[in-house]
Symmetry: C2
Subunit: 377 residues, 2 copies
């Protein structure tokens, strides 16, 4: 009996009742990271504050001059491009809010065992690159094309399957121009950091993070639907293990508060003083523009509409909202809720599936309002 790749993997599972986060989940939490919610104040998230989720290792690419991007499959003129070739194409910069499909997973009951996000798996950046439609046009997509498959240089094992990270988009999304899908080489005006796909990544405005293939090395046009692991096994909305499940695609609406006041180190409870407290936050949706942000200061019993900052013209980026709350001594639970132009909004009861995907349950921020000026140490 040999030692099989599959021996590295454990089966998918749900955490037991009251089961704490395990060392496997912690190993993911220690290397991936969220956006500390006070950083919602930045219009554009600086690298290091933007969320990161890497399935396998971050490839080490100290010299990107030999990096190649190939475009092939069902095309008339296969391409083999280096970064200089890509930079010679027209470039587009789009401000995009990216969110992990598993955001909020660790707050679910029962908890799917995977990367244990609370609510921080989000970030917004200016991504610069070549519109994918231009590369597809240059290659000449043949009739009968269905999917466009993207392969990254990150390599690993999931549930016994050794693989390069690989995802597909339907041709009409990949070749669309509203929005442009980008083959991006810059983030906030600088070369991509290693953890964001250096030297090249896909950016698909409006879609969850699994579509944003990093360390992009190949694009293949196919005449059938792609059924690779990350498309057909992972990233499906399933209630039972043997459901086929709907695919995870576009980002559901969400609003998040900048937690007001200041925190306790360990409990993360927020502390404010009585009186007016300036609340602010961000809201976004990958389905349609966000049109409404509401705030509750009583745990979701009542809601008050927040005011938008003047529009920034960035359709695919989060919007900032504000509201002043008059805090009174005691304990409070603050929440925010986004609604988009198609009427999608956020539920007060958890939307649950076995992968913990696309869960946009409203945030709850416990706040303690103190009426004592100072406590003796």
């Amino acid at each position: 009996m040999g030692h099989r790749i599959g021996d590295a993997s454990a089966p998918a599972r749900l955490a037991g009742t009251d089961e704490g986060i395990g060392l496997d989940e912690l190993a993911l939490a220690a290397r991936n990271h969220g956006l500390p919610l006070e950083a919602l104040r930045h219009d554009r998230t600086p690298p290091g504050l933007h969320y990161v989720l890497t399935h396998y290792d971050i490839p080490y690419v100290p010299d990107d001059t030999s990096w190649r991007l190939t475009v092939g499959g069902l095309v008339r003129r296969p391409l083999d491009l280096d970064l200089a070739d890509l930079r010679a194409h027209p470039q587009v910069t789009t401000r995009v809010t990216l969110e992990c499909a598993g955001n909020g997973r660790a707050l679910l009951t029962p908890r799917p065992v995977s990367q244990p996000w609370l609510l921080e798996a989000v970030g917004t950046a200016d991504w610069t690159g070549v519109p994918l439609r231009l590369l597809l046009a240059a290659a000449g997509v043949e009739p009968g094309a269905v999917d466009v498959v993207f392969t990254g240089a990150d390599h690993g094992v999931e549930r016994g399957v050794e693989q390069d990270y690989r995802r597909a988009l339907p041709l009409e999304v990949a070749a669309g121009d509203d929005p442009d899908v980008l083959v991006a080489y810059a983030m906030n005006g600088a070369a991509l950091p290693p953890q964001h796909g250096h030297p090249l990544r896909l950016v698909v405005p409006g879609w969850y993070g699994m579509a944003q293939v990093k360390w992009l090395r190949d694009i293949t046009v196919t005449d059938r639907e792609f059924t690779g692991f990350q498309q057909s096994v992972a990233y499906r909305l399933r209630q039972h293990p043997d459901d086929e499940g709907e695919p995870v695609t576009r980002i559901a609406p969400r609003a998040l508060l900048v937690p007001p006041g200041f925190p306790d180190f360990m409990s993360r409870t927020r502390v404010v003083r009585p009186g007016p407290v300036a609340l602010e936050g961000r809201a976004w949706s990958g389905r349609a523009p966000v049109t409404r942000a509401e705030v509750s200061t009583d745990g979701g019993l009542s809601w008050q509409e927040a005011e938008w900052d003047s529009g920034t013209g960035h359709r695919w980026a989060w919007r900032r909202w504000r509201l002043t709350w008059t805090a009174t001594p005691g304990r409070h639970v603050l929440s925010a809720r986004a609604t988009d132009a198609e009427g999608h909004t956020q539920p007060l009861e958890q939307p649950w599936n076995r992968g913990g995907f696309a869960n946009n349950l409203v945030q709850r921020v416990p706040v303690l309002c103190t009426d004592t000026v100072a406590d003796p140490p």
Copy 2:
């Protein structure tokens, strides 16, 4: 009865037997992050891969032109400086490996409940700034000075004590020139990122992270030992809650492996093929130069000396070492161990204290060597 600040805090505690990581610990793990160990390949750690530990919120400083640093207390000429004043002083760049004093905490039994680091709380950067001794000389330290107290702009609560983050160094360390303590305004040649102290931080080569005060706004020279929370309550080595405890100071030696091969997403088990596997890693000590790195491929039963890369001349930064291992099919546990010029080394049994500080137990990297070429999906 009022609502006291202290109501935000819970008492310090140890996790129970088999108690998983709680949501409070996870909230810290999701916002702070370690260095993904494959990033040990970088001589200098890019921002976003370097570890970050923030006690409270990351201050939002979109415009640093009004930032002031005051130097006062037991000095003849108190200073009130802006960034331009600081940049007018002579500048020094030092490559420094920083490590959190709590690195390895989540692997301890019993586990102190706090930021649950595994082994990734480390990073190395070039820090540029003004030697602190020059500022102290400009201010003119009076006779009788004992400690130099550093105050950051980050504000929060710990164990019922509302505070700005504040730490002290003995005068002889603060005013020393071997090494220079830096008031740093640049990391790897660029302005400090928000999470690393923008616009100004302290860098104390050789000391654990708690000494590296970020968002530095005040320096006060005192005629007695500083007894603030982060000096006298936190960051002490205690076996029992009522011990006074020794202070945490300099970084104990540690070696870490770049985990070889590729990972399983969830178990993080590493997979390699049979045959020669190039192992590499880093080693460092804040006490004395590291002189020896050893590797074990049998769980610590036997050790083999690794080879150093040619010296980089950076005394306060990690050193790279290499060793080739011939992998055979089966499961293995790899470890690395550093020893410094003063003979400090790493234990095979956990060094335990109630804070989980300065624990440099040797790393264990489980590896599966497969002898099957490919598994059917």
